[in-house]
Symmetry: C2
Subunit: 341 residues, 2 copies
DNA sequence: ACGCGTTACTGACGCGCGTTACTGTCCCCC
DNA sequence: GGGGGACAGTAACGCGCGTCAGTAACGCGT
């Protein structure tokens, strides 16, 4: 492997100093360089295939131009996170706009894994996007308190840190309102995850709000928790079926909803004729479920993009809103229908 | 934000030179340091919360300790890549074992996006894992020729570069043999992607091999291409239904298969009673399709892990096999059944 | 007393770049 | 003729670390 050219090589070839090379290649507006010299430098750089060494640049400039995405999730959660790819795409796009690259740090949630704090403390990355943190994460609190640039994707209550999220409450409320508008009154709810996760809390809150607004009492017998994946949805629906009657259900995750629909089918209940189902997320496959799933679209790409942009702005010392909430959209498909008379 | 401590600060506090600090913290076995001194240094480092600056380390050491994952995929492909998350987990695990971190580079496939070559040339990353490259990518060829450490995830024929892949041919063959063993003779095939992708070619090859081994002629009227996502599977199945008869189909992607099953349903054909279906990938949701999908399990985690490990070994100048093929496993579920008499 | 080896450590350089402060030159205007 | 300013460019330092060559102190055998 041939030795990579340095800026000194470019300088030598162009017959100028290294400083001039740096000025030209970094397009410094406050330094005047005649076009002729500029061209000589650029030509030399191109001819040598010069690429500035990232480490040296980072060291001299004090910034790494890297954003790190920290995923605070269990394997099951990652596996069933159907929107991760899209979120990553959005983040990647935003990073690129701002001249950053993206690093990914996957954490095992069992046991305190604080490896990501070294990302910042070692200046591996300039800023962090932390996805779905647990609200009791001490090392995250410490990083925030130390003033590191961090954007939370999700929510992290009671802490002064920027966050970007989808409007879970409004989305869930809209989903339940849709069921209400179809005449359903006895509506069950399966959460997407245990309630230690704020997103699960928020979606549940949307459910109860919609019921309250319609003057319907919220019964805990109608509510049960799932745990990210389809099997947990299957179990949750089986629990509900065993203990009460209902003619619709809001399932706060498409993946969980697929499992729940399976349980309904096995119990001989048809969707949507016997039970209407609304999901949440609008994963790419949702429209191809049988029946096609009515669900709440989570703008995954935009979410990643918004988080990335927020962090980029923050790193440029520009003011950014404390909290950004992205709107959801109800996608009405075949899994909901008017209540039978 | 407080200024981060440097190794000089640690040295001052411990009353030794910076060199000694470096020796102690890097656990250099070839340098003898008494335990007492060692302890003083470690204590000082802990007390200051010292974290070596990554850039400086990279610059001095000439390596970044970063692996980059290059995803050469269209948005639709990324969105429907249900195994990306798992692969990333595996890669991340392997990287961590080897003391590396992971960077992700998403490329738009339209137009030659060579941004990833600068990852290596700028020494942003020590090595690359390139997922599913197109075989005509010139900048990749160039990188390989220049001797950069690259591992392909997928295949890249006719080029001397390490690669890791799942055994697509054997997996597809097994899927079709399963259909044959159930008495099916007229078996259609929907590819997972256009045939410029080698994985699609290989899975198709497995299909034709299995038929050939059974002495069945391979008819092109039974073969059609899809394009990664469910809608394309729907279209593909509609095309097949319009032009011929068959009693089973091998669909080389679970996501595509879901779309195909939808098309069968709309055409009034039941799965598996009228048409048996075998998919490929075993995405987490496959077991929850209706009917549960018989499919070929792609060991996604292991794939990422194997790619990561291969690259780590390569970077340590240890010999690694030119090509690693991971075995698949047939998951027999409800979408296949014996041919009706 | 001297040489020699060992132990315990350090000084100084280099990695490749950004950047500040500075130098030299030319020209114009009083 | 000389002061001043714009122009074109450079020398040199610092970023924080790894590492090699080197040194000072000490012990030991003869």
């Amino acid at each position: 492997m041939l030795k990579r050219p340095t800026s000194a090589d470019v300088a030598a070839m162009a017959g100028v100093s290294r400083t001039t090379v740096s000025f030209v290649l970094n397009r410094r507006a406050d330094v005047k360089i005649p076009d002729e010299t500029r061209k000589r430098v650029v030509d030399a750089a191109v001819q040598l295939g010069y690429q500035p060494n990232a480490s040296a640049r980072q060291l001299a400039g004090g910034r790494s131009h890297i954003l790190a995405l920290v995923l605070h999730q269990s394997p099951e959660q990652v596996a069933s996170d159907a929107v991760l790819a899209e979120t990553l795409r959005g983040l990647s796009a935003a990073a690129r706009e701002g001249g950053f690259r993206v690093m990914v740090e996957l954490l095992a949630p069992d046991g305190p894994d604080t490896s990501y704090s070294s990302l910042l403390r070692a200046q591996h990355a300039d800023g962090l996007i932390v996805s779905g943190p647990r609200s009791d994460d001490p090392s995250l609190l410490e990083l925030v308190r130390d003033g590191f640039p961090i954007v939370i994707q999700g929510s992290f209550p009671d802490v002064a840190v920027q966050s970007v999220d989808v409007d879970n409450v409004a989305g869930a409320r809209g989903a339940v309102e849709h069921l209400l508008s179809l005449g359903h009154r006895r509506i069950a709810c399966i959460t997407n995850a245990p309630l230690v996760y704020t997103a699960a809390q928020e979606r549940l809150a949307g459910y109860t709000q919609a019921l309250a607004a319609a003057g319907i009492e919220c019964e805990s017998i109608l509510i049960t928790e799932a745990d990210f994946d389809a099997p947990s949805g299957h179990l949750a629906m089986a629990r509900l079926l065993a203990r009460t009657e209902f003619d619709a259900a809001f399932v706060a995750s498409d993946v969980v909803a697929l499992g729940a629909i399976g349980a309904l089918r096995e119990a001989g209940r048809r969707v949507p004729d016997d039970v209407s189902i609304v999901g949440f997320d609008d994963i790419p496959l949702a429209a191809y479920f049988d029946p096609p799933l009515t669900t709440v679209r989570l703008p995954a790409f935009e979410l990643g993009q918004a988080a990335g942009r927020a962090l980029v702005e923050r790193l440029a010392d520009r003011a950014i809103p404390h909290r950004t909430l992205l709107p959801t959209e109800l996608m009405v498909r075949g899994s909901t229908t008017r209540r039978r008379a």
